[in-house]
Amino acid sequence: MEKFDVIVVGAGLAGLAAAYTLAGKGVEVLVLERGDYPGAKNVTGGRLYVNPVRTYFPDLWKDAPWERHIVQEGLSLMANERSLAIDYRGRELREEPHQSYSVLRSKFDRWLAEQAESKGAMLLSKTRVDDVIREQGKVTGVKAGGDELNADVVIACDGVLSLVSEKAGIRFAGKPHDYAVGIKELIVLESGVINERFNLEGDEGAARLYVGQVTKGRFGGGFLYTNRESVSLGIVIGIEEMLNDATIDAPALIEDFKQNPEIAGLVRGGTTAEYSAHVIPEGGFKSLRALYGDGILVAGDAAGLALNMGFTVRGMEYALASGYFAAHAAIRAKEKGDFSAETLSAYKTLLEESFVLKDLAAFKEAPDVLRNPRIFNHYPEMIGGLLKDLYSIGDHPKAGIYQTLKRHLGMGEVWSIIKDMTGVRRI
């Protein structure tokens, strides 16, 4: 029977960050990955914010295979027949060090795995973990590919569903309310065409979020990120919202989005090269999953570490940071020679002292506030209608601007806005 100091399940960002950190400290670590290569089963929207994790991996970022650094942040309110776009640009986004980059996981994770391997981590791909080995309730290893592999600590970085945590008996299957699914097309376009259409130079990139009828007025939204020679275009929609609205057909949402007049021109002439989907944790702090148990730590999406604040949608830097802290908790346990839940609970403390759980705790109300259906159905239509009247010139005398505003923003409307703003004050 093989025995390792640490077995990491899943070569995603959490698992590879853990392996990189552990191997860097001379700890014997094996990473098991069910895909043909790291990233083969992973999907991002997506973009990675580097600043929060820059110092945890000081040598790593210089040669990272980024797609583009994001210099443009877009938010569009999508009504049924009209849309309103906010396009933010700022000098700070163009200056180095850049705060966020678009990435493609198959390339990025493979590169990160190479970095971990160069530190001495072992990687075994094409290997699914079938079960967890437990002795007197304590996790002592995993069963994979017909073998039993033992370790002092297992770090479950097996993604949003974390079947490993379930098998270890430290979590139950999730509830639809706490999850959304992202559905994405990777659309290939020449880099010059991307730069022209989005008004970008060189490796500059754009990020855009779309809120409103793209998810039939339900919690979720559309996204677009420019990569070097492709565009990641997709839809995120709450699973509970899909269950409750029988008119929603998931594959049709992204097809309709692609044909929306605001999108169609941006991807015209592009060739779809891949169609992917993945569940995303959306519950935030209140539905955080088990972080540790006897002989086991849980990091990344597996622990529910993601944060949607409407304007920003984050997960990958939480995965990297939690992998880093899981590694440090495992190192401390190794020094003590004690791998009990009590010792491993140091991981939770490390997360609490870092941006990871500080962010999630600070924005713990965000998932509930953002689930306000008025954000997705009422406001895009109301604001769209107001703009329509302000911009339209008909064959009769034009109504005054104040009169138009008053028509759209009557007392009832203003009261509702104040009520909604009270919700927003919670975040």
């Binding site: 069910r34 895909g35 043909d36 290569y37 990233g39 083969a40 089963k41 992973n42 999907v43 991002t44 493609l104 996981r105 198959s106 390339k107 994770d109 791909s125 094409k126 290997t127 699914r128 590919g145 949003v160 569903l161 079947l163 299957a173 999730g174 509830k175 639809p176 999850y179 699914v181 559905i183 097309e185 990777l186 492709s230 699973i239 899909m242 269950l243 029988a246 929603i248 057909d249 998931a250 594959p251 049709a252 992204i254 097809e255 779809t272 090269a273 891949e274 169609y275 992917s276 989907a277 993945h278 569940v279």
Partner: protein, 94 residues
């Protein structure tokens, strides 16, 4: 092109290694369970459909391994696992 054909064409763009056995199965006797019904709409790959007997059936080839059906329908009606290593979807971009 019908919606179903368009979706099939999109799935055809993915690199997909043949499965040795289905990794997701509808539990015996649960084919008409109301909890399974939404799968027809919520699966991003459109792999669930209703047959003429009113049963939900699953054609697993093309599965994106996203997890939507596991969360949406639950493990009372679905026996759910990831595919074995060396099989299933292999994203080239992700």
């Amino acid at each position: 092109m019908s919606d179903a054909a368009a979706l099939k064409a999109k799935l055809g763009l993915n690199v997909f290694k043949p499965l040795r056995e289905p990794h997701i199965r509808i539990r015996a006797g649960m084919e008409k369970d109301p909890r399974l019904r939404p799968a027809v709409r919520i699966c991003p790959a459109g792999l669930y459909s209703e047959n003429e007997k009113g049963e939900i059936v699953l054609a697993i080839d093309g599965c994106l391994e996203c997890g939507t059906c596991r969360l949406g329908c639950g493990t009372d009606v679905l026996e759910w696992n990831y595919p074995e290593g060396d099989t299933g979807v292999q994203f080239r971009f992700g």
